[in-house]
Amino acid sequence: MNWLEIAITLAEILVVANALMIGVSIMTWIERRLSGMIQFRWGPNRVGPFGLFQPLADGIKFLMKEDIIPAEAHKPIFVLAPALSLVTALCAFAVVPFGPTVEIAGRTIDLVILDLDGGLLFGLAAASLGVYGIVCAGWSSRSKYALMGGLRASAQMVSYELALALSLIGVVLLSGTLRPVAIVEQQAGWFWNWNVFGGWQILGFLVFLVAGFAETNRLPFDLPEAESELVAGYHTEYSAMKFSMFVMAEYIAMITVSAMATTLFFGGYQLGFPVPLEGWPLAILQVCAFLAKLSAFLVLFVWVRWTLPRFRYDQLMDLGWKRLLPLGLINVIVTGALVAFDLLGN
């Protein structure tokens, strides 16, 4: 690896990390406006046109607020926890291919930060480490509400990780690789080549989606921060920028799960129909297609949040272990049979 390659990778990291942060601020605006629409109210509409500058105002507010560390808290871990949350959330996005291979000044550049042979596993590993931020926050706050939130988060994440990983195995069986880039390339052409249609992965996709909601702690699975019982759960004691880092981590995790769903089941950056274009125009169109699919999933996340009520804790565990896990296994067996007997017609 020479210096130029390192510089290119660094530039990609810079672009993607900033895009994620901008995406987060846009998502907070969309979430608040959309929840307003769903609940027949306005939502933030005062700062700038349509309230578009609200995230900016929120950012300034978070920076100016007093940063309170409880006297009884375990200080090093209390400070470490939000950073841990944010870093692991950012890491997981590294293996998502957001565009095709492009050519700049005679060099081919893959529009993915980390093109790993076991890329899917890397994403899972980063997601599984994400729980440490929440657990550390819950424990180091020395508050019973935060501790309960941390406990719930650890049990929930470990349970739903299994279903999440099982739902990916169908896609892996179909494509014969764990490299996200290769998985996307195999879904080229018409949209019926996408894994969710052409590979009969509808069940796998649904299991992935539900487990993904649980992994990101979004409603209806936001038991770790259930307001009605735990005040604010694991981040009860956090204020100012540290609190906002947890929020950012949650939104980035949401974006990553959406990106993974797009990549694995809905053709990633593939357009879904052939176009008479090539080179740069095609690449730009494909990046736009990726962003469009991603946004659709993000809107779904918000929509579900303001539609479904929260599960009870035993219902959550029942759903994870007694429903999703068997469904995931069925999906693996059916997909395995389809692949083994070559019944997919291609």
Partner: protein, 165 residues
């Protein structure tokens, strides 16, 4: 580059292992054990064993240590009090065995690295495909035996936890 990574990982591994042993708070010890496991995964990466490194992070750091933390937090274990009593027979024996272990390890290392050249690994070494192929061809029976062992352990755990089924 590789040397820099090795030094950083070694420092992380040694320091976190020390914290695991010496820190009095069980949660801090568990967290540094997780850091230690991640550092070891880094060593696997340096040795080209990508698949092993990722599994180490997913299984040990991501699942097992989270469960350990869960149990520690659920029981709300207090910090250990400093003890000044005399070393027990068990700890003396343990220390002696540790010294013997280090000696054996050093001896094996000295023997292995005396002017021997290691053959270069193949380019697919440690990739998901090659590990999978090895598991399902060369090591098929040991692999299945291990999975049977895990099932037995799981049934045993359920039986112990639930006396009346």
């Amino acid at each position: 580059m590789e040397l820099v990574a090795f030094v950083i990982l070694t420092a992380l591994a040694v320091v976190s292992a020390g914290v695991v042993l010496l820190h009095r708070s069980p949660v801090v010890a568990a967290l540094s054990l997780a850091a230690n496991l991640i550092a070891v995964a880094g060593f696997y990466l340096l040795l080209n064993a990508q698949f092993l490194a990722l599994l180490q992070v997913i299984v040990y750091a991501g699942a097992i240590m989270v469960l350990v933390l869960f149990v520690i937090m659920l029981l709300n274990l207090p910090e250990e009090a400093r003890r000044h009593d005399r070393p027990s027979a068990q700890s003396v024996l343990g220390m002696a065995l540790a010294v013997v272990f280090v000696a054996v390890l050093g001896w094996a290392l000295a023997r292995a690295s005396s002017g021997q050249e290691f053959p270069p690994s193949s380019p697919t070494f440690g990739s998901v495909g090659s590990v999978g192929t090895a598991l399902f061809t060369t090591f098929f029976y040991p692999f299945e035996a291990v999975s049977l062992l895990l099932v037995v352990a799981m049934i045993g755990a359920v039986l112990l936890a639930k006396r009346r089924i």
